[in-house]
Structures are given as C-alpha cells and as structure tokens.
C-alpha cells in the first residue's frame, strides 16, 4: 500500500458514487501488475535531474485514504527499472539570477506545483513526475462521463526548463486521442489556446491538467488540430462518436502495454491481483482514523498545545478536566 499510494498522486476525488460505478469496475480491470517490483525505495520520488538530494514531497499515505473514492480506485505502478536514467540534461539557465540557486529554485517551484496539484484533487487525474527529470511528468486521465466516457488516456507533461518564466507546459497523449484539439499524429494537446501566455504565479501546472480533463467534457472545435474530428463533431455526430469509441478502445487495448518511456516512474497498468492489490485497496478505501489524542497522553514538550477555547481567541480558557 505504501508503495502504491506513494507512487501515485491520487489527485482526483470522485464526486458521485453512482455515476462512477461503471468506471470503477472498469478501473478494477486495470489494476497494475507489480510483477516488476522496483527495487528502489518507493518513497524516492526523486527529482533527479540535477539535484539528486531533493525529491518531491512524499505522497502521504493518508492522502488517498482520507478521501476514498467509492469502489476501487485505480492503481498504478512504475515499470520496474531499477537503475534510474542518469540523464544529464542541460542545466537550465535560471532566470532568477541567484546563480547556483537557480536550479534549486526550479526544483522547488516544481515541487510546489506538484504539491498544489495534490491539493487540488482533480477528479480522475493522476500524475507522477518521472524519475529522471522533474520536468517530465507522467499522467493518466479517466473520463467518467460524456462522449469520452470510459476513456483512459495516458499522457506526458513536458515542462520547459525555464519554468515558470517560459512557455506553457506541453501535454502529449500516448497514444494520441481522437479529439478536435489534439494532434492525432503527435498526440499533443493544444495547451496554448488556454494559456496564450504562461504567466508565472498565475498559471499553474494543475490548470493544464484541469484543462486536459476539460476538453473531453466540453469539446472545442475552433481552430482544430484535428480538423477531421472537428468537422465530424460539428456535422456527423454519429461518426464522431464512433471514432471516439475507436480511440477509447485503442487506448484501452494498449493500456497494459509497457509504457513508452523506460522511466521507472512511467505509469504502468496491470491486471488486478487479489493478493497483491487488495490490501492496498483496502487501505485506500478505509477512511483514515482520526487519531484521538487524549489530554492525558500528551507530552507538553512534543505535542502541540492549545487551551484556546474553540471559536474564541481566549487563551488558556479551555476547560481541562
């Protein structure tokens, strides 16, 4: 369990029990296979691009459990490649002008982005940074209603190395999805139209993911990257739906294939295996017990103290019995 929840950011939180039932079952079929269990510590969500000491803040165990999605949540597992790609990317020239700290700032900016993303709990969106680079994130998107219902789309997020002062992050679907504003050759989503100019501190990566999710619910046909899809959507809804069904089926059929990237964090699906996954599932769907700390068990030196009567600001006013 630890491993699973630590590796995936359960960003999403299902909203309605009923409407997700179908998808939930479907997700069950997509349980990842742990057969290539990674040798490295699962907590090592390392941003290993240049500053190997740093890692993303670990996804807390309680994260998923605290908001258990109804039914069984999807689980993922990295491909079990033990040696992380020791890529040597070019060092980004920091725009921050603090010399050696620039890289550090990039790392932290991305960590903060990821942190924010976790807090957003975008429904059906799951993302994990790659092991090799903080600028490359893997994700998967579950579409739970609408035309693309039951779609399971894997995607990559590529963040420019001068983030956040550079261009938009790019989002590429693997395999490409049939959608008016997704390039059917490359799979790249037209992020630019939503973020004409990437604005530091205004735009965030989770917005890109929100947008990526959005396009499957609100289909936009203006200036399409995939004119065929746009035209069909406008003029031949039946055919469009058929095409969409095709693309969903295609994605599904490739779901269990090895990820296109050999990065150990690449999202990998496997079939449900009771003995390997049921425990994790149980942990996820079991609400976290709120630890009740009795007054007597506290240690005044280590546990936080408060005698402020709730709702007031009166200090030392709470009744201690």
């Amino acid at each position: 369990m630890t491993r699973l929840t630590n590796m995936t950011s359960e960003v999403g939180k299902d909203k309605g029990d009923d409407e997700n039932k179908g998808n939930t079952t479907q997700n069950n079929n997509h349980q990842p296979s742990p057969q290539q269990s990674p040798r490295r510590q699962p907590e090592q969500l390392i941003l290993r691009r240049s500053f190997r000491k740093k890692k993303l803040p670990p996804v807390p165990k309680q994260d998923a459990a605290s908001s258990p999605p109804p039914g069984s949540p999807p689980m993922f597992e990295r491909a079990g490649i033990s040696s992380p790609g020791e890529r040597t990317p070019s060092v980004a020239n920091s725009p921050n002008g603090v010399g050696a700290y620039g890289q550090l700032f990039l790392e932290y900016a991305l960590m903060a982005e990821y942190n924010q993303l976790q807090k957003q709990r975008l429904p059906g969106v799951y993302v994990i940074p790659s092991a090799a680079s903080p600028l490359h994130w893997f994700g998967v998107l579950f579409i739970r209603q609408g035309l693309y219902q039951e779609g399971v789309f894997k995607f990559d997020v590529h963040i420019p190395d001068n983030y956040p002062d550079g261009d938009c992050p790019r989002l590429v679907f693997h395999p490409p999805v049939f959608h008016p504003i997704v390039d059917f050759e490359t799979g790249e989503l037209d992020v630019q139209r939503a973020f004409k100019q990437w604005r530091r501190n205004v735009n965030h990566i989770w917005q890109v993911l929100l947008y990526a999710r959005r396009i499957f619910y609100k289909i936009d046909t203006k200036a399409p990257l995939n004119p065929e899809a746009a035209v069909l959507y406008e003029e031949d809804n039946v055919l469009f739906k058929a095409k969409v069904a095709d693309t969903i089926a295609t994605c599904k059929s490739q779901l269990y294939d090895s990820p296109h990237s050999d990065d150990p964090h690449a999202i990998r699906f496997s079939k449900w295996e009771e003995e390997k996954h049921s425990k994790a599932l149980k942990t996820i769907v079991t609400p976290k017990k709120s630890k009740e700390d009795s007054e007597g068990a506290k240690n005044a030196q280590t546990s936080g103290l408060s005698w402020v009567k709730p709702g007031t600001m009166e200090v030392f006013s709470k009744e201690t019995h």
């Binding site: 550090l104 501190n201 205004v202 402020v308």
Partner: protein, 1226 residues
C-alpha cells in the same frame, strides 16, 4: 528453629503445617497471656519472651505465606485460625504493652505484614482481623523513630504495590477504619512526610505515592479525599518552593556564550537536581492522579510556587532588591548582591524558569505555568512585558537568557503562547494593507520570496578574498588551544558560592580539542582539514549546481562552496522543522489564516457597554456585509449567504424609514470601522448618535481625516437619502453588487461627482495627492515620478490575473452543462477553494500598488461584471466556457470593443447571485469617468461608484505612502497612521460563517498605530541591531526568528516570509529590518579596510570549528560524497521520523547557525570553541587598547555578516520549504 528445615525443604502436608502453626500459636499465646505489668508485678516479660514471640510469629507468617487456599473463594486453615484467633491483633496489642521492646516488636510486625502482603498466596488484607491491626500499627508509626522508617516505607510501598495489583483493595483500605483513630486512608498521611526525603527512602515513598495515586485515578471519592483532605498538594507545592529557595541565587556567567542551563550544567548542581526531582514528581502526580488531584496540585503549584516565588524572582526590579524570602539558604550572596546582584538573580531566575519549562511534560502543569508567564501580573506589570523588555537589555547575559526563554516558549508549539506573543496582533490584520489580506495564504510557489531574501545578502559578503596565509591559521589554532587550557585553570578556581556553569562543556570540549592536537601530532594542522574537506564540500556544491563539472571549483573557493552548499542543509532543516511544527499545530483550535479567526474577532476589549451593544449588532449584520466585501476582493465568489444578507440589509434600510427600531439597527450597522462603507445604506435619524459614539470611543486614535469624513457625512445626509432611494430602485441582485461599492461611494468624494456631493476642498486635495502616490506605489519604493501610465499598465496586469480565476471557475464545473446550474452552489464552494490560489497572481512582483487594495480590482470587475452578465445572458453555458478559455470569437470581439480585453467571462449566472468576476477595465485610474462600456443599466451610477471607490483607494494609498517613506529611513515610527483608520472601514470580517461567541468591536484601539506587538518589535529591533550584537546574541536572535518562521499559520508565515507583503506604515516587515541591517553592514564594510579578510577569517574559523566538532565527519570527508550519501539523504528526508541527528552531522558552516535543531550542541562545545577563537583575536591588526573598542565593534560586525548571510539563506529555505510542505488533511 527445628521446625523450619523440614517445612522448608520437604513441603510437609497441609495438615502438618497446620499443626505446627497451631503449636506455635500455643507457645506465643502462653507468652502473651503472661501478665505484663500490674501494680504488683513490675515486669514479667523478658527479652527471651519477646524473642520467642518474634520467632514463633515469624514462623507462623512463613507458614501462612506458603499456605494455598484450598479452593476458590476459601481461605486456608492457618489463615482461618489466624483470623479467628485474632492473632495479629493480639500481637499488636502486646507489642504496645511491652514498652521495652515495643520498637523491636513493631519493626518485626511491620516486617511480617510486609511479608504477608508481598508474598502471601491468599489475600490477607481483606480480613478485618488482619487489616485492623495493620492500620493500628501504622497509626502507631506516625510518630515512630527513625529506626522504623525504612521498614515502614517498605511496608507502605508494598501496600501500594498490592493496591496497584488489586484495585479492589483500594476501596477496602480506604474505607476500613481502625477501631480507634480517625485517619482515613492512612497510607497517604504516612507517606507524605517522606516525599521530600532524599535517597532510597524518598524514592520509595514517592514511588508508593505515585502507585497509590494512579490507582485512585478512577475513584472519584478517593481523588476527592486526596485533593481535599490530605496535604499532598500543599506539601508538594511547598516542597517546590523550598527546593527553589535552595537554588543558587546567581550563576557564574563568565562564559560568554552561556544562555541556558544545559543538562551538563544542572547535573552539577545538586540543588537543581533535587528541585527537578520534585518537579518531576509533581509532573508525574498530575499525570497519573485523579483529575481532581491534578487540578488541586496545579492550583497549589500556581498559588504556592509560581505567584509567590517565580513571579518575584523573575520580576525583581533591577534597582530594588526584593523577594528575599528564600535567600536564607544561600548565605553567600551578601556582599555581591550589592552591585549587580539583582540582575544576576534575574538571569538565574530566567534560566531556571527556562529549564523548568523544558522539564515539564504534563500539559496541565505546563498550562498553568505558561498561563502565569503569559498573562500573569506582578506588581502591576504583566510578567510577559518585563520579559519582552529584557530582550533588548543592555546586559548581554540577560538578553541571551531571555532569548533562550522565548525560544523555549516558541518551541512548545503552544497556541496560547503564540497568540499572546504574536498572533493576537496579527489576527486583526491591521498590520497589512487591506488588499493584502487575500495574500495571507500565499505560498512562495516560484521562489520569489526566497530570491528576495537572498538578494539581501550584503555586498560585502559577496567578495571572497583569497585565503590568508596558512601561517595565520596555524598560529590562531595554537592560540585557541592555549587559550582553552588557560581558561580551564581559571574556571577550576571558581568561587564556591556560585555555580560554575558549562564546566561540563569543557569535558566535551576537551575531547573535541583532541582532534586538533592529534592532528598536530600527525603534523597536519587544522587548516589542512579544511582543505581536505574540500572534496566533500565540492560534492555538495555539485549537487547544488546540477551537473556542472565537479572540477570546475577551484580550491580557492572551498569556503565559498561551503557556504553555498549550506543552503541545502537549511532546506533540510526547514523541512524537518516545518513538518514537526505543522504536525504539532494540528491541535490548535484555529488556523490563523486571515479568515479564521476573523479579523474582527480579536481586538482590545471594548470600552463601554455601548460598544458591546454595537458590536453584537455589527457582528450579526454588517459584519457579514463587510466580510462579503472582502470575499469579493479575495476570490470573487458570491456566496448565497451574502446575497441573503444583503437583501436583508436592504430591507432593513427600507424599514428604517418607518420604524425607529429599524432606524436604530441600521444605524448600528455603521459602526466606526464600517461606517464609511455602509454609511449610505444605513442613513437614519440615529446616525448622529452613532457618530458621536464613534468619535468618543476612539477619540485618542481616530485620525483627523477620518473625522473629516464623518463631518462630511453629517453634511451630506440629504445626499445619502437620495442615494438610498436610488438603491431601492435597483434590482435585488444589483443591490447586492452595489453593496460593495455603495458604501465606499460616500467615503471619499471627489470631483467626479460634484452633482451629488458637496466637496470639501481638503477632501479634494487628498484625492489628488493620492493619485500620484498610487503611481509611486506602482513602482515600488521609487519616488513619485512615474506617471499614470504605470497605473494603467498595472491595472491591466490585474485584469490578466483575475480571469484565470474565472477561467478556473468555468473549468471547475465538472458535470456537464445540464446540471450546471444545479451544481452552481456546490461549484462555487469549490471555486472558492480553488480560486484562492489563483488570486495569488503576480503578487511576487515587488510593490505593485494595485495589490495593496482589493477595492480597485473589485470595482472594475463589478462594472464589467454587470456588463458581462447582460451581454452573455443569451449565450449558452458552453459558449461561456469557451469564452472562459479565451478563444471564443465573441469574446475576442468584445475584447476589442472594450477598452480592455475581456477574454474571460464568469458564469455565475444564477438568479440568486450577481456576477462578481468581471474583466478589468484598463482605464488609467483616477483620471476621469470609468470607461465601463456596454449594457450597464445605470452606467452613471456605476462609474460614479468606481470613481469614488478609487478615490478612496487613492486616499488610503497615499497615506500608506507617507508611512512608506518613513520606512525608507526618513522619520521616526511615531507617526499616527491615518491609513490604519482609513483602511479600517474596509477591514472586514473575513468569514461569514464564524460568528465569535464573544464579538468584540473592531472599533477598539486597533485604529491606532497598527502594531505587531511588543515581542516582534523587540525581536526585530534586535535583528536590526545585529551588527552591534555579539555573535551569540545574533545566533539566538536569528534562531528565534527562524523558529517563529516554522509555524505554518498563514498569518505568521506571511508576516515573516512573504516578501511581497505590504505592511502598514507603522509596521516594519522583516525584509525592511533586514535591509537596514544589510545597509549598515555594507556601510561598515566599506569603512573598514580589511573587512573582507576578516570576514574570510571569520568564516574559516567557523568552518574549522565545525570540523572539529564533528571528527567523524572529517574522517568521512576523505571519502567521496557519492550517490550512496545522496540516497541516504533522500531516505532521511522521506522518513517521517526525520533523523535530525545525522542531518546535522553533515552540516557545514550552517550547522553552527542552526540553532533550532541542535541547541545543545551550539551551547556547548561549539560555542566554547567559538569563544576561544573570538578571544584569540581574529583581527590581524595590532590590538592596542585604544583600538579595542573599534576592534570589538568590527569583530561583532564581521561575525554579524557571517550570521546575517546564513540567516538569509535560512529564511529563503524556509520560504521554499513552506511552499512545498505538504500538510496532510487531518
């Protein structure tokens, strides 16, 4: 005894045992039946008789001990016999009669009972025949001789042990009363006299008591009895007082860095060990006892120890010697008291209190202690005030020890303490500009704050001179050694009367000293170690620098690299610290995020009943309105409550014309703080009364401009009446929208609406001035010459920011268009959550003026919002989404049509709520009519409001500016801040849901100079004076600030770390204080010729010292810091237990400055070492006596530069770590 052997070894039958027992008893009873003393026979009992009885009885006890009960619920025959014959009773009575051997017999009886209780297989105490003699025996022992004490305590202890095994016994023992004597629960009264005994006896007694007390935890009646009828609590508290009086009155402070009592220190103070034992016992009693007992003890702790002893000790004035009640024991302080005595005593008392606070673990006890320290008064002065004052004491030792005490305070993660020290001054949010409130929760997502801190690095710290000659290092290293040993001699001759502190440290130090010496033997001087550390530091540096070649760092730059890499260590430390603090703070009652508690919740207590009355009214009515105001500014979400509230309000206004009651209530709505906002909506006959009241209640703090406005209002009742009529003509939803602005409309009027308002010239002038000041703000601290262009530009930026939130809002809608409206309210809730981060916008751009006031952005949104609502009414929801995403043609057209691009719409389209999110009009502000275009119904009205609103903003901004210039160094801090009062009206309650149970008027005294409280003031003053402080004080001060910055509460975090935050003029931000220090440092560095060299030396010393501190690390230095290490780091980092120890081991220079995590280490050998380094004369120039003062100052400045630079890194690291700190949902 012949019987014993077979019995012991062959285990005779039960029958045989019984026979033996009976025969023994026969023998004994014969002796007992002998007449003892009568009138005729003087003495019949011989020693042999007594001995025989003792022996026989002992054998019988042995037999009983071995006897097993025949079956469950039955008792053995021997015991039965014992009970039936009342043997123990007879023995006990006899022992009283035999005067000569009474003591011996009692002792034997005690021993027998102890044996029985401890080892008998049957429960003997359940029988009155056994118990009553025991109780009588115990009573006899009340005044027993010392010979019996150990046996008595042993028995009592045994009794308590069996109690703890069998709680049933407790009731039995408690209720059983001996045939004679009143004492209930003898156990207690017998044990209590031994509480304060030393040695084994005392330990046993305390153990026994604790056992007994913990058993009685569940029994209320016994708890009550202990609390009320025994003297346990008074004895304990009194014991503390007595023990305290034995403590040394003063401490030997010859060590320059000493600031708190370390374990090494107090372990060498027997009196302190004893005191701490007692304290620990109290602590334990509170912990295990029945709550009644705990409460009682805490009560006595307060009344019998804190108030009479700690209070005077802490508070004794510098000049008057008081509170000598307990000076009896320390007879040595006679003459030395005369001069610096009192201060020394304060220092000692402060150190003691600090130590006590660190020793207490029981929350109840801690609570009463903290409550006394935080809210207690002594001689008409709050204790806390005195303590805070001492932060800036001239005496270095007092300052250090006080800082240390505050560090302990803050380290407790106690909400109440933090409220008292800091938060209660931050909660009203008076310290920041109104518009900044929405930035309170901001995080340093993109590293701007951190960057800002790092840019404050003094210029003088950026120049790295070549390393000085090796010879210097050697020489000084030698000096270090000699100095250390010399000092040891001096200290060894310490005065007996005062306690020598930190001698233990020298033991530590001496071991640390070995390493240089050993190095010396091996012919490798210390500096060699520094050099050999190079690779390690390089390694760390490489980590920092990414994949830049490892060889790129030349050896000359080792130290520099050391310093650079320490940033990583600070990050790790910050992460650990923040995480621990965040977890601890989950217990807090409030989040302190600017919304909760609402800013109105806390302000000084109201002056009169009137204000209370008004306040409660305010709380229920207009408080909500104003809060909605700010909500709009913050997240542009219109809550339904708000709508309802507003319509209620509107009704109230209407009814106010009819009924006096309504008049009154609506008048009360416009309480001083909110009057300028809600004024026109609450016009009534009673307005004058309210105004009078306002002026009266805030007479000392209301600034003149505010009063002017009031006057203005009085003159303009007619106008207000008109406006109210106008209001009523508006649609309901419109009114809701207007609510935001209409009140402002009347607050500051200007030429834009002459038809409606009589202008006073002065008012006009103010407005004019404000325009220029706005633009000045837009360019940060730069003077006023930036024109309006900057204003429009910045406004545009604002417009770009807010649409994102709209956009989000559009995207946040999840479930398709069909149920869109149904979901609206839910979505809005969600949006509120989501869009808050969005409103963050470009906050990090330094000093952009529009960030300073939410009103500005609210207003244009408002105007445009109406427009959008009307123009997009027919468009489908999907279209709106498209627009929201910015590529709808329609939107583009509008964008062109309007002066400002309107790429985004908002989709708050329900009937109950009014659009709030609207594109910003880029009109250069303050120039003329607002350019709201398109279908606004009453365009005039809106633009008027926009204008006036802007005037209002301008005014407050101008006031802000004046304060700002003051901050830039011109003036004193005494300036009355009109802006506080001006922004007061727009300082709303943030939360609509939270209604404080004890609402306090926002009128209060908060309209005076906004302040962040004496503690922060004192601390910042200390930071500002860093250059004059010596190294240790600087370490403590910066450590305190760092520790404060661990707190995740947004109010505190934003105050300390958000470098973009704009504060009220009378409030200084940390950045401002740091800038002052930085500047003076740089000035000094320029004035001193060899400052860089000294700086280099200082750094090198600190590094050297660091190496010696950690020989293990030096050894590992030779091995390359490779990936293994990295992985370990990661593991440490990810492990929740956050192994501080190993983290600190790897620390470079920063370790020295990392006070938080390794306080003890810093206090001990490190500082000692530092001290010797310092004294060895780090400055190369000749230290003649004439130059001494200069040198000392220079030395402080040089060390300050090092500390300062590290401090900045630490702050930067904190800002960054806060941004990525993941706080799990609780």
């Amino acid at each position: 005894m012949p019987e014993e052997a077979p019995f012991r070894f062959t285990m005779p039958t039960i029958e045989a045992c019984y026979e033996v027992f009976r025969s023994h008893w026969m023998q004994v009873s014969i002796i007992l039946s002998k007449p003892i003393s009568s009138r005729f026979q003087k003495k019949k009992v011989t020693f042999d008789d007594a001995q025989a009885v003792i022996n026989y009885a002992a054998q019988m006890v042995y037999l009983i001990v071995e006897e097993s009960p025949p079956s469950e619920g039955m008792i053995g025959r021997m015991l039965e016999l014992m009970i039936n014959e009342n043997i123990m009773d007879k023995l006990q009575s006899w022992s009283l009669q035999v005067v000569e051997y009474s003591e011996d017999l009692k002792r034997e009886l005690l021993r027998m009972y102890e044996l029985l209780i401890a080892q008998a297989k049957q429960s003997v105490l359940m029988h009155n025949a056994m118990l009553n003699p025991l109780l009588r025996l115990l009573m006899e022992c009340h005044e027993c001789s010392e010979k019996l004490e150990d046996q008595l305590v042993l028995l009592l202890h045994q009794l308590c042990v069996s109690l703890s095994r069998d709680p049933m016994l407790l009731e039995f023992l408690f209720h059983a009363s001996p045939s004679q004597g009143p004492a209930k629960f003898l156990l207690f009264s017998l044990l209590i006299p031994f509480i304060h005994r030393e040695g084994k006896l005392g330990m046993q007694a305390r153990d026994a008591l604790l056992l007994c007390i913990s058993v009685s935890r569940e029994a209320a009646n016994i708890g009550q009895y202990i609390a009320e009828s025994t003297n346990l609590c008074p004895v304990l508290a009194g014991g503390l007082g007595g023990r305290y009086s034995l403590l040394p009155r003063k401490l030997d402070l010859s060590v320059d860095h000493w600031h708190c009592l370390t374990r090494e220190d107090w372990q060498r103070m027997p009196e302190m060990v004893m005191f701490l034992n007692t304290l620990e016992f109290c602590n334990a009693v509170v912990q295990v006892a029945h709550p009644l007992v705990g409460t009682q003890l805490v009560h006595f702790f307060h009344d019998g120890f804190l108030v009479p002893i700690i209070g005077p000790a802490l508070h004794q004035s510098m000049f008057s010697r008081r509170a000598k009640e307990f000076s009896v024991a320390s007879g040595n302080n006679g003459e030395s008291l005369e001069d610096e005595g009192p201060q020394d005593e304060i220092i000692a008392a402060t150190a003691y209190v600090d130590l006590f606070l660190r020793s207490i673990t029981e929350p109840k006890l801690m609570m009463v202690f903290l409550r006394y320290l935080c809210t207690g008064w002594h001689e008409g002065q709050p204790l806390l005030d005195s303590l805070i004052r001492r932060i800036n004491s001239k005496s270095g030792a007092l300052c250090r020890v006080t800082l240390s005490l505050f560090h302990t305070f803050i380290n407790l993660n106690c909400e109440d303490v933090m409220v008292e020290l800091v938060l209660k001054y931050l909660v009203p949010c008076n310290h920041i500009m109104v518009s900044q409130r929405k930035a309170i929760k901001d995080l340093d997502i993109s590293g701007k704050w951190a960057e800002k801190f790092l840019t404050l690095t003094p210029v003088c710290c950026m120049n790295y001179p070549p390393p000085p000659a090796v010879v210097d290092v050697d020489k000084e290293n030698n000096r270090t050694k000699t100095k250390t040993s010399g000092e040891a001699d001096v200290l060894a001759n310490g005065v007996l009367s005062s306690v020598k502190l930190t001698r233990e440290n020298r033991v530590v130090l001496s071991s640390a000293d070995i390493s240089p010496r050993r190095n010396g033997v091996k012919g490798s001087p210390t500096h060699g170690k520094v050099v050999s550390n190079g690779p390690v530091q390089n390694g760390a540096g490489d980590v920092m620098n990414g994949n830049i070649g490892t060889s790129s760092v030349t050896s000359d730059q080792h130290d520099i690299k050391d310093l650079k890499s320490s940033q990583v260590e600070y990050l790790i430390d910050a992460q650990i610290g923040i995480r621990a603090c965040s977890i601890a703070c989950r217990n807090w009652s409030l989040p302190y995020d600017g919304d909760s508690p609402p800013p109105v919740c806390l302000s000084p207590s109201p002056d009169s009943d009137d204000s209370m009355r008004v306040t409660s009214q305010l709380d229920t009515t207009s408080g909500q309105v104003t809060s909605s105001d700010s909500m709009t500014g913050m997240s542009s979400v219109l809550s339904e409550e708000f709508a309802t509230e507003n319509s209620d309000n509107l009704k109230g206004n209407e009814s106010s014309k009819r009924s006096p009651e309504g008049n009154k209530s609506s008048a009360e709505i416009s309480t001083p703080r909110t009057r300028s906002r809600t004024f026109d909506s609450s016009l009534s006959a009673t307005i004058q009364e309210v105004l009078d009241f306002q002026i009266g209640s805030t007479s000392d703090s209301v600034d003149t401009s505010d009063i002017d406005i009031l006057e203005l209002f009085k003159d303009d009742k007619a106008f207000l009446d008109r406006r109210q009529l106008q209001k009523q003509a508006l649609s309901a939803s419109k009114s809701n929208t207007n609510q935001n602005t209409k009140d402002l409309t009347s607050s500051v009027q200007q030429g834009a609406r002459p038809k409606e308002l009589k202008l006073t010239p002065s008012q006009h002038g103010t407005g004019k001035m404000s325009i220029s000041s706005d633009s000045a703000f837009s360019s940060g601290n730069s003077p006023l010459f930036e024109g309006f262009g900057s204003v429009s530009e910045t406004t545009q930026g604002d417009g770009d920011g807010s649409p994102v939130a709209q956009w989000l809002r559009a995207l946040g809608e999840d479930s398709g268009g069909a149920n869109f409206i149904d979901c609206l309210s839910n979505e809005m809730e969600k949006d509120r959550r989501l869009s808050r981060p969005e409103s963050v916008r470009d906050r990090d751009e330094p000093c952009v003026f529009w960030e300073f006031d939410s009103d500005l952005e609210t207003t244009p949104r408002l105007a445009g919002g109406t427009h959008r609502r009307i123009s997009s009414e027919q468009t489908s929801e999907a279209d709106r989404i498209l627009q929201a995403l910015g590529y709808a043609e329609k939107a583009s057209l509008q964008q062109e049509a309007n002066a400002k691009q309107m790429r985004f719409s908002f989709d708050v389209n329900s009937a109950t709520s009014t659009p709030r999110r609207i594109p910003v009009t880029p009109q250069p502000h303050g120039l003329s009519e607002s350019p709201v275009t398109g279908g606004i119904v009453d365009n005039d009205h809106f633009s008027d409001e926009v204008e006036t609103r802007r005037r209002h903003i301008s005014l407050s901004s101008s006031l802000d500016l004046s304060g700002f210039s003051e901050l830039n160094g011109t003036g004193s801090s005494g300036m009355a801040s009109p802006s506080a009062a001006m922004s007061g009206p727009s300082s709303p309650a943030m939360s609509t849901s939270l209604s404080p149970s004890k609402p306090i008027s926002p009128i209060g005294k908060t309209s005076g100079n906004p302040s962040v409280g004496p503690f922060i003031d004192a601390l910042f003053k200390k930071v500002e004076n860093m250059m004059q402080n010596n190294l240790y004080i600087n370490l403590l001060v910066t450590g305190l600030v760092t520790r404060l910055a661990y707190y995740p509460q947004p109010l505190l975090r934003s105050f300390l770390l958000n470098t973009s935050m704009v504060f009220q003029p009378s409030v200084r931000s940390l950045v401002q204080v740091l800038t002052i220090t930085r500047n003076s440092l740089d000035m000094h560095a320029l004035s001193v010729p060899d400052f860089p060299t000294n700086l280099y030396k200082a750094r090198q010393y600190l590094c050297t010292r660091e190496d010696e501190e950690d020989p293990a690390r030096s050894r590992s230095a030779t091995s390359v810091l490779d990936k293994e290490q990295d992985k370990e780091d990661v593991r440490q980092r990810s492990s929740s237990s956050a192994s501080t120890k190993s983290t600190s081991k790897r620390t470079i220079l920063g370790d020295l400055l990392r006070r938080g995590n390794r306080r003890k280490a810093v206090t001990a050998a490190e500082k000692q070492k530092l001290n010797t380094i310092r004294e060895s004369g780090m400055i190369g120039t000749g230290s003649t006596s004439a130059q001494y003062e200069f040198l000392r100052n220079n030395k402080n400045a040089v060390y300050c530069a090092v500390v300062f630079e590290e401090f900045l890194k630490e702050l930067a690291a904190l800002a960054q770590e806060h941004a990525v700190a993941y706080v799990e949902d609780s």
